[in-house]
Symmetry: C2
Subunit: 474 residues, 2 copies
């Protein structure tokens, strides 16, 4: 059905007389295209005055390729993309200049990012290839971003209010991501996370401009130790739970004045829901199988798909409380409890990311259940291995869903050998205040937390304190 | 988890000694990056000798934005993308040079494509914007492709064996697609369809390089007449049914020697399945509501999402028999029955695409049911408004699924006022032979048809004849 010239004009030119006349409320802002220098970009991030709610959502995901051994195709992909000089590994006979950067640290920090960025800025790369877990892929995303913005400071793009949270107006270089763990889903998202050691918490950059061009799921998790399978799988579990229960996108504020300002983490929406639910079902089914037997190849493949799917889910909907609280839990551990998780080969204290997220899981969903009983009921049915229409689920009153979910999640985590609460990794009741203080700056994710109220006022802080206290032991 | 230098080298360099040593079987081919001219590309499309089965699948989809009135953001999007000169409609004060092409015809032909291509080649566009139904978006894709390949002939990229089916090695210009019908899902796919009038059937180009950069679903279907809603919605219905029941990607041959040769239509796969099933459920629920009342805004929105979702499903899995047979059904109509569908404002004969697809629907799925009973059982449950675990579904023997599905689909179509078979649009039993002859060249989709056997031998032709005969009336 061809639209007439007038229809086209009417539809498109709705945007002319003001920035957004349908919802006409905003002062016009400089279009991002005129903001090619970092100083111009900085001026772009003016505070939004009105606080209208969102009316739209976007879905962006990397292309995915899935199959046994497809990593072998990557050399051809780079050639097909006319790669001139890649940062990665390709032998001499491929005729493609390349450099390998292998100094990525697990759970990256400002320092490790700066090292990778400095190194990448010294080369003239045309393409990036990241082979590894979330730490590696995230570091590659940062190196890519800051190679393109050569004069930007790390804090220019780090999420506000920790950093400036500037939009990304330039196209980044093509990045191929080949995950070797089934966890972060970083191969499909525009998210990169780092530890701000000076502040003892993690945060990062979440922008769809940073997503890889091709996420390749393969047999590469064969070498993954059981402890890493479990921790990574818990990340998948809570990516899906949090994105599915995040506030609806229509409840998020502010409505952006320009689509480039629409965040990647938008709140739950119909597309992300499908991915998040699928990933949740798959993880509940297959993660316990891998924990029992890491040679279960069907379970490994399903968890890889679940990891990517949960990535598409949370990459477009966002995460909330478990992730927000995990950042100080893992960050403060380095000075505080110095807990070192069994099965991780490192001399440094480490609460692996997935474990730090899971520690608050039972208490978080007990708290959020009243915000969307239907969604929490569906999740409960999945944890209990049944369907929503089963009488064992339908008989539960809305008000009782929270305690039931607490029990079911706790039982699931216990079956995987996850430490039973914050005390089990060495925190004390007296640490709660510090952990809450470290959570409060995580606005990017707290803004999506259902039922948490005004995070700047006393309400939010009270809720976080309660959840942290309820996570001390179970 | 950081991969060591050696791990990276081992993983990546697997591809060096031959094109694909893991499955080492192919002579090396010229990498696509060295094939920038159309003549070089033509040499690339050498026939593949081995006929190994596929071992991987890819998923590519456009970014989507969904919301009431988001078309108003398109002007900002083009500016954000640094558009220099767009082919579309933007008023003077946007400071963006633009041209409007409004000569797209419904159900495009070679001639109408050539006109649009010639016109686009005369301008120096940086961006494309398509506002309309599938005909408009498909024509814009073609204009984009052939503006970038300025010396290519139409047949160079048309699907083999009708055309040469060459790969696309260059990046196309950014195309924003704004659908005004809920049908083709063209806003998310790399597919463009045209009528090859000289041969009285339709075919097209299906290549993920052609997918738009942003598909924007909006309120734009408000103006759509009921007849167009129904026909477009039937396209959604059969996109989802066909992609969900296509042969599994692991059964498709040949395994490509270079990932750039992996077709967009790959066969059913776990990611496409999720989208296709969701779209099927949604269409069965909401299409009858729109048919009753086109002011049902919830149904309109759900059908738009379903259209895009089915697009992601079939855009990565493919369609098969209903679509393959629809191309001669609509093509031969222009010379033959000259049926003109009620509610379409045109002086020319037209069997709208969705109707032409639906005419064979009952007979097709009766035929395909034995190829994957579980999938067809699930589809039957959806048409019958129940679940697979319902006794009314579980009691049906696998061998009886075909007749049941025939009945359920026929009843559904009848409820929407679809003509009851080929005779109802004017075809006679004596036309079956011609219709089958027009279907046989549709290799791109017939290759994905389950149970059809060798399409070049007599088996395939016999099956097609039987299905066409069973579609004469019901």
């Amino acid at each position: 059905m061809a639209a007439s010239r007038n229809t086209i004009l009417r539809l498109i030119n709705a945007s002319q007389s003001s920035v957004c006349p349908c919802h006409g409320c905003r002062p016009a802002v400089t279009p991002a295209s005129q903001l090619q220098s970092i100083n111009q970009l900085r001026s772009f991030a003016t505070p939004v005055q009105a606080v209208e709610k969102e009316y739209a959502f976007e879905v962006a995901a990397s292309n995915l390729r899935f199959g046994d051994g497809v990593t072998a195709e990557v050399g051809m992909d780079l050639k097909n993309m006319n790669a001139r000089k890649a940062i990665a590994a390709l032998e001499a006979q491929s005729n493609l200049p390349f450099e390998v950067y292998d100094k990525v640290v697990a759970e990256p920090t400002e320092d490790s990012w700066r090292n990778a960025i400095d190194w990448a800025r010294q080369h003239d790369f045309s393409h990036f290839l990241a082979v590894g877990g979330g730490s590696v892929i995230d570091t590659a995303k940062a190196a890519n971003l800051f190679s393109v913005y050569k004069d930007a400071d790390l804090m220019d793009f780090i999420n506000a209010p920790v950093g400036k949270g500037l939009p990304i107006a330039k196209s980044l270089l093509p990045l191929i991501a080949v995950p070797t763990t089934a966890g972060t889903g970083s191969e499909t998202t525009g998210t990169a996370i780092l530890d701000i050691t000076s502040r003892s918490f993690k945060t990062g950059i979440a922008n769809r401009a940073m997503k890889p061009v091709l996420g390749i799921d393969t047999l590469n998790t064969e070498s993954c130790p059981t402890a890493v399978h479990i921790s990574a799988g818990l990340d998948v579990l809570f990516h899906s739970m949090e994105s599915y229960t995040a506030i609806p996108y229509t409840e998020r504020t502010p409505r952006p004045s320009n689509p480039i300002l629409r965040p990647a983490y938008q709140g739950s929406n119909p597309v992300a829901d499908i991915f998040s639910l699928w990933a949740l079902q798959t993880t509940v089914k297959y993660l316990p199988r891998i924990a029992k037997n890491r040679d279960d190849s069907e379970a490994r493949k399903q968890m890889l798909l679940a990891s990517s799917f949960a990535g598409i889910g949370f990459g477009n909907a966002g995460v909330h409380l478990c992730h927000g609280m995990s950042y100080p839990i893992s960050g403060l551990n380095k000075k505080g409890p110095k807990y070192k998780h069994a099965g991780y080969i490192t001399d440094l204290p480490i609460i692996p990311h997935g474990i730090s997220v899971a520690l608050t899981g039972p208490a978080v969903f007990q708290f959020t259940a009243p915000s969307s009983p239907d969604r929490h009921r569906r999740a409960l049915a999945i944890f209990n291995g049944t369907t929503e229409s089963d009488p064992s689920i339908t008989k539960i009153a809305d008000s009782e869903l929270g305690p039931h979910l607490y029990e079911s999640i706790a039982r699931f985590l216990d079956g995987l050998g996850v430490p039973r609460g914050l005390k089990a990794v060495g925190y004390k009741a007296s640490d709660v205040e510090k952990l809450v203080q470290g959570t409060l700056p995580q606005r990017r994710v707290l803004d999506l937390a259902p039922g948490i109220g005004d995070i700047i006022g006393s309400d939010g802080k009270e809720h976080l304190t309660k959840i942290m206290e309820n996570s001390l032991e179970y």
